[in-house]
């Protein structure tokens, strides 16, 4: 069977591969090469070695964006996962209206980042108006704005995954724990949490990569204002490419570092949390 199928290579493989070459393979390879070049358009590149990478570390905007991204990510990962898990526990108690609650909590996840960002920009500005200030007056407002926005968007998503995990916890295990005299808290920490570890892995992985790569929401909510102090890494890379003449190479070098960081986070976290999973 393999032999006959092999002759159909052009039909089965080529359409996707051609699109993949234009959208990914060529841009990726050129991107790696151009990060070592000085260029304005991609056809007049001049090789300059690691010059671009050296410039990054003298770039205060980048360093600032890096720490801002870390702060936003850490806080939002914690809050999103804790709230989502609590909501999932509440929605697996067979309370009236569970379906309606689930529907509403999940809905913001479907709204795109740009639209979501502007909805919250309006909302937060209206609140701050009561104190005669605006979202872009102070970087702290932008920081908390992003945290609220990300919670609003991602809690429902993570909650759904936790619910699926909790529903898979075998009831006989919970009953056994109850007969052995376990309190509600013990049943939670000793039985439920170890058994939903796979869901926790997935949610941590998703929140880490989503918050680290956040762009649309950041652009719409504050666009980095005031003076780039609320710009996250993705937005800083974008600004370097399109906001500063002659810095395209530096932007591409930043993008390469960003890619390495994203890949490293994804791989280490998967490796780390896989080990903690328990077989039911």
């Amino acid at each position: 069977m393999q032999k006959t199928l092999r002759r159909y290579f052009p039909i089965f493989i080529l359409p996707t591969l051609i699109a993949f070459a234009f959208a990914f393979i060529l841009p990726f390879a050129m991107g790696v090469y151009l990060s070592f070049c000085k260029f304005k358009t991609i056809t007049n590149a001049q090789f300059t070695g690691i010059d671009n990478y050296v410039k990054i570390f003298a770039d205060r905007d980048f360093i600032n964006a890096f720490w801002f991204t870390i702060k936003v990510s850490v806080l939002s990962i914690l809050t999103i996962n804790i709230f989502a898990f609590i909501l999932a526990l509440a929605l697996t108690r067979r309370i009236r209206g569970t379906n309606l609650f689930r529907t509403v909590f999940f809905m913001p996840n479907l709204i795109g980042g740009i639209i979501l960002g502007y909805i919250w920009q309006q909302m937060i500005n209206a609140v701050l108006l009561q104190f005669e200030t605006t979202l872009v007056a102070n970087a702290t407002y932008g920081f908390w704005g992003l945290i609220i926005l990300m919670n609003w968007q991602m809690i429902g998503y993570m909650m759904i995954i936790y619910i699926a995990g909790l529903q898979n916890v075998p009831t006989d295990l919970l009953e056994a724990a109850q007969i052995d005299g376990a309190t509600g808290w013990q049943a939670l920490t000793r039985v439920k949490i170890p058994l939903v570890m796979p869901s926790i892995t997935i949610c941590l992985f998703l929140t880490v990569s989503n918050s680290f790569k956040l762009f649309d929401q950041n652009l719409a909510l504050t666009a980095g204002a005031p003076s780039k102090r609320t710009a996250m890494l993705a937005l800083d890379i974008y600004n370097t490419f399109y906001g500063r003449m002659g810095y395209e190479g530096v932007g591409q070098a930043k993008a390469v570092l960003f890619f390495i960081a994203v890949a490293a986070i994804a791989l280490t976290q998967l490796a780390m949390t896989r080990r903690k999973e328990v077989e039911a």
């Binding site: 699109a19 309370i95 913001p108 909302m123 209206a126 960003f258």
Partner: protein
């Protein structure tokens, strides 16, 4: 048992409050979209009154300034055709990669998987320049780019599922005289349906909401603006000046998503869970 019902009552009340909090931003925008634009900035939390109510003026204004219906049409065009292209071509690729085992197919498989962890920023500049050179800066070109950029996740998910399909079914089809194309379309594809729904939903959500790719490839000065690009265009250029049009546009952008969500909620939630588990 009594303690448990009391707890459930308290939890129910808290959940109701949370629902209100979750809906607040959307209701806030909806309410303000019916107010005259000058009143929005003065008293954003006041309900519209006879003086401040402006009917559909904001909506007419917002639609005219951005060409919202054209943006809706292009968003729909790009999303529908990209999703169809992804479903058709990546499932074929995944089938071939799973059933033919050699160095080339293994290498291709790992390339597709690898592309999943590469952030868009890594390729955005070179990709948009290449798209200009090869004249992909139009809606059909966008479909090609989405097929290429969405291929990683889709191939990965289809491969995972095809591995679990017993080979005997296909062998039976071959013996009955099907060539590989007939085997794929008549036998394998119908079995792929659950995964296809997941792939379709994940990609539809991503493409419909995507901002940066259409913005960089197609840009602001063409008639092919999608909804996120049109929203950014209105607010970026008119910004604080016409709050009314902005509120109306935000409402108009959210409505299709909510309608779609309520219509196929079951599939969306299942698809998102399945996608998260496999991704």
């Amino acid at each position: 048992m009594k303690r448990k019902t009391a707890w459930n009552g308290i939890i129910f009340v808290i959940l109701c409050i949370l629902v209100a909090a979750f809906l607040a931003p959307i209701l806030f925008v909806l309410m303000n979209s019916f107010k005259g634009r000058l009143y929005i900035s003065n008293a954003p939390f006041a309900l519209p009154t006879q003086d401040t109510f402006s009917g559909l003026a904001n909506y007419i204004n917002g639609v005219e300034k951005t060409g919202f219906f054209s943006a809706f049409g292009w968003s729909a065009f790009i999303t529908v055709f990209s999703v169809l292209a992804i479903l058709l071509f990546t499932s074929m690729t995944a089938y071939y990669l799973t059933r033919v085992n050699n160095g080339v197919t293994n290498g291709l498989y790992y390339m597709y998987v690898f592309s999943m962890i590469v952030p868009f920023q890594m390729v955005m500049f070179t990709m948009s320049k290449l798209a200009n050179i090869f004249k992909l800066n139009n809606p059909p070109g966008m479909v090609l780019l989405y097929l290429g950029f969405g291929a990683g996740l889709a191939v990965f998910m289809f491969c995972g599922f095809i591995k679990s399909i017993p080979l005997e079914i296909e062998e039976a089809a071959m013996i009955d005289g099907c060539n590989p194309l007939q085997t794929f379309f008549r036998v394998v594809m119908p079995i792929l349906k659950p995964t296809a729904i997941t792939v379709a939903i994940l990609n539809a959500m991503w493409i419909w909401n995507d901002y940066l790719l259409p913005y960089l490839v197609i840009g602001l000065s063409t008639p092919y603006k999608t909804i996120p690009v049109a929203v950014q265009y209105l607010i970026g250029s008119y910004g604080s000046k016409d709050m009314g049009a902005m509120m109306a546009l935000l409402v108009l952008s959210v409505i299709p998503i909510i309608v779609f969500y309520l219509a196929c909620q079951k599939y969306i939630i299942e698809g998102v869970v399945a996608g998260a588990v496999k991704g």
